[in-house]
Symmetry: C2
Subunit: 345 residues, 2 copies
Amino acid sequence: MAASTRTSRPTPERIFNTMVAFQETEALKAAIELDIFTAIADGASTAASLAARTGASERGVRILCDYFTIKEFLTKKENEYALTQESAVFLNRHSPAYLATMINFLASPWSRKNFAGLTEAVRKGGTANTTGDHTKPHEEVWVNFARSMAPLTIANAEFIAGLTGAADAKTCKVLDIAAGHGMYGITVAKRNPNAQIVSVDWPAVLEVAKENAAKLGLADRYTTKPGSAFEVELGDGYDFVLLTNIFHHFDVPTCEKLMRRVYAALKPGGQSMTLEFVPNEDRVTPPMAAAFSLVMLAGTDAGDAYTFAEYEKMFRNAGFAKTTLHPVPEMPQQVLLSEKQESPI
Amino acid sequence: MAASTRTSRPTPERIFNTMVAFQETEALKAAIELDIFTAIADGASTAASLAARTGASERGVRILCDYFTIKEFLTKKENEYALTQESAVFLNRHSPAYLATMINFLASPWSRKNFAGLTEAVRKGGTANTTGDHTKPHEEVWVNFARSMAPLTIANAEFIAGLTGAADAKTCKVLDIAAGHGMYGITVAKRNPNAQIVSVDWPAVLEVAKENAAKLGLADRYTTKPGSAFEVELGDGYDFVLLTNIFHHFDVPTCEKLMRRVYAALKPGGQSMTLEFVPNEDRVTPPMAAAFSLVMLAGTDAGDAYTFAEYEKMFRNAGFAKTTLHPVPEMPQQVLLSEKQESPI
């Protein structure tokens, strides 16, 4: 636990910090629950004024704000705290890029329970939780996901809308599988006034997606098919099928099964667009995509962050002759684009 | 959540990583429980051989070891994992500097419960847990501390032994208050064959300290006074009183009360040696000392990481005319040395 790393001898500092890393999650959760960052954005700058505004103790606020100054989410000058650019953009409730809601899913009791069982998960090779079969509905988990995680979709959804050629405004039919908050299909509809969106997810989850579509005035072009993506009648003749963050939940045969249904639902020349964490073949780079594998070990029976070679093979087995990889700029995920040939193979 | 920070625009990557920081603690806990690092030290290098050795699944081991490659506690070449210098020194059970036991205290259910109540702690200005008054015994907590945290003491304890002039082997009487594992007093006794150690802590905790003293053959110079440091008869005529990691648990009047007892127990010319996290006056530097304040907010009714000016004043109020500060090389803690004048003031 050396205070510096100037020497070349190893110090236990990083190990110590990893042992107490859970404290960082709890500190951010507390600051978000007390809406400290918004209070600072609104002009409160001292521990006393922040305490008055948030209904907390001055001592508690002082210690929490000092902690986030140390962690560089705040600055402190004399006794006045200010937001950094990072917290101003993402943790101030008034900012359009506010994403603090994500902690409600990322550090939810369900997610913590998955990780609390990690030793057992490593032993058995899959989650120790009872909710590991994601072909079954666990609606409370995915409604929470849909309510919490929309802020993270913006860049990915705009990128996917771009790949569909939304700007050309051609009439098209889009199937959004495991729609969640619905923001991927909704963004296509927002950018293309002639797109019709059909979304599939568990019934309670689709209520969130419908709300989001209605808020943007897109309800008339937004229909839903409640149920399992493996069982519900999907329809056919789609120009595009969106598969965002779904394959990583399943083992390879289950992924192939889903992709065969997608192949059947597309019209000839139609395209499936898969958004995923895709690690390199070494499975340890790039860091965020590769580390996602642990989240799947902790939370699913047999899911994983698959490599491009693995996806390419699964999709080929499902009928797609060719799949290409498209990194989303500045984001850790990539889009796999697979086209159904005009003359089916 | 951009994959890089090359642009100057803020990205949500650091915030995302903070939201999921608890995963790092759980991953390290799993690796320690499965003793993966020792298995690698013993020559297992592939997921298959590690799985066989640890009784875990190959898939689980592969994902966990990939994760620790990403986190730079392992390296991976083809499919073979190896320890880094850091994990070889601190996480391999055969290493004399092995400190993995620390996670049993740092991420104990008690510590997690303290932090799970952090929002409430910020509201009220002290822990939301029922164990916040550390003048009362919470023996299960401190026995766990004593069993888990000894590895972290080595550098601090040697430094303190040096300050007592242990190498001169002068006859001396040392009082070790809140001894815990006992390693501070024990190290003085190890370095000075003419030192007598008297240690104070709760009865069950002192059993751990006595075990440690006996292991090193020091039992004949090691006596104990079980009970509260605020109430037990301490004796007097001590050359040195060690106060390691105790004041941060209490409010200022309680610290002063303890220090008055210490003053009375010292012989004229005797010295008290206080080991503490001592942040600078800005309370946000240096990072490890300053961040410790949050641990005290989460876990105590009124404890804190006090500044040198605060300690100097408390100790002066308790009778010590002068206190000096001594940083422990390469460690985040410092020793405050206070001498009882030959002619008491």
